[in-house]
């Protein structure tokens, strides 16, 4: 899912106290794209986890792009940190990785524009019809 005119993008300082803005935006966008309230909650927790990991990578800002189509919502979280080692070694064994796997339909640790990113997909109810 590449960014379109319908993509919502929010950038906040890379500090935990600003992530409530991201949570609010996620809720607002997801609610309009046929995600159940449970799925919205899962997505918020997952994005929280992803952003917490990105904050640890350093950097000044966290940018979250939220795009939706008929099948669900895709969120790409990225930091502006320049780090060579990403995703962090041993990530697969952390609770954060387990939580992300458990609460999302798809999670990809990679890079966006060369910077560390986490891509998350959550299906909407239309995808199950």
């Amino acid at each position: 899912m590449s960014p379109t005119s319908g993509t919502v993008i929010a950038t906040v300082p890379a500090r935990a106290e600003h992530l409530h803005v991201i949570r609010a935006v996620i809720g607002s966008v997801a609610a309009r794209h046929e995600l159940t309230i449970d799925a919205i909650d899962d997505l918020r927790i997952a994005v929280d986890e992803a952003c917490a990991q990105l904050i640890r990578a350093g950097g000044e800002t966290i940018t979250v792009s939220i795009a939706a189509d008929a099948t669900g919502v895709e969120v790409v979280c990225r930091t502006d940190a320049r780090v060579s080692a990403w995703p962090p070694e041993g990530l697969d064994r952390t609770l954060a990785a387990q939580v992300l796997r458990g609460l999302t339909d798809e999670v990809t640790w990679g890079r966006a524009d060369g910077r560390p990113s986490v891509r998350i997909r959550k299906r909407g109810v239309a995808a199950d019809r």
Binding site: E17, I37, D41, D42, A52, R93
Partner: protein
């Protein structure tokens, strides 16, 4: 997960309903349950209650898990525990201290949820709720927020306490646990050199999930003292591991 750890866990599941195997699985995955419980803090329930719900859900997950299926137990347990925590909070209603009109809408929405669940066979979307209560999607979102205010605590804790994330691994002797846990492994040799009291504080705080007050009581020192020791120890570990 290393191959060795997986084999061990598969053996434990094969031994069920042996109580010792069940207990061992509980101990291994308890950090996951406690971690998820903290994720739901601040919604009008005490952390202790949430931890209890999460622990019971973990037990349920252990009993229901089918090792023959292509899914990791930690993934299955996460879904089960989060589901139980949500159900618990939904049943308990919502937090107070919200504007009255919003409270009223929150009550209506909360009352409607079980009905919609039954009708749809899944949790409803915000649009479906909005249509039913004749409110806008934004109003419903606000009402849901009022009913289930999301807690920022866990993440704040993460940011301020450094390597807070502890994976679901086995409980054991303190030093052995530090050695085996990803995230703590890199600093395990440093931890081994810490004075016994500092090591004990780290263990109680991050693995037993005790509060500083509880640790102070157990060690017979002031909470301020625990706070200082903990901050100093973490700083030392961070500096040494990064330097």
């Amino acid at each position: 997960m290393s191959g060795g750890a997986e084999v061990d866990e598969a053996e434990l599941f094969a031994r069920l309903p042996d109580p010792d195997a069940r207990e061992e699985l509980m101990l291994r995955h308890r950090p996951l349950a406690l971690y998820l419980a903290r994720r739901f803090a601040g919604r009008g329930e005490t952390l202790e209650d949430l931890e209890q719900v999460a622990s019971l859900a973990l037990l349920k997950a252990i009993d229901r898990f089918d090792p023959g299926r292509d899914v990791r137990f930690a993934t299955f347990a996460t879904v089960t525990i989060v589901g139980e925590l949500k159900r618990h909070l939904r049943d308990r209603g919502w937090a107070v201290r919200v504007p009255r009109p919003l409270q009223e809408l929150a009550v209506r929405v909360s009352g409607l949820l079980p009905e919609l669940w039954q009708e749809l066979g899944r949790s409803p979307t915000v649009t479906e709720i909005a249509e039913r209560v004749d409110a806008t999607e934004d109003e419903v979102l606000e009402a849901l927020e009022a009913a289930q205010a999301y807690s920022a605590d866990p993440l704040d804790a993460l940011a301020s306490e450094g390597d807070r994330i502890a994976p679901a691994e086995t409980l054991g002797e303190h030093d052995e646990r530090f050695e085996r846990l990803e995230g703590w492994r890199t600093v395990a040799p440093l931890i081994a050199r810490l004075p016994e009291r500092e090591r004990r504080i780290l263990y109680l705080r991050f693995f037993e999930e005790r509060t500083q007050g509880q640790i102070a009581e157990e060690l017979g020192i002031s909470q301020m003292h625990v706070s200082r020791l903990l901050a100093r120890t973490l700083e030392r570990l961070r500096e040494t591991s990064e330097g």
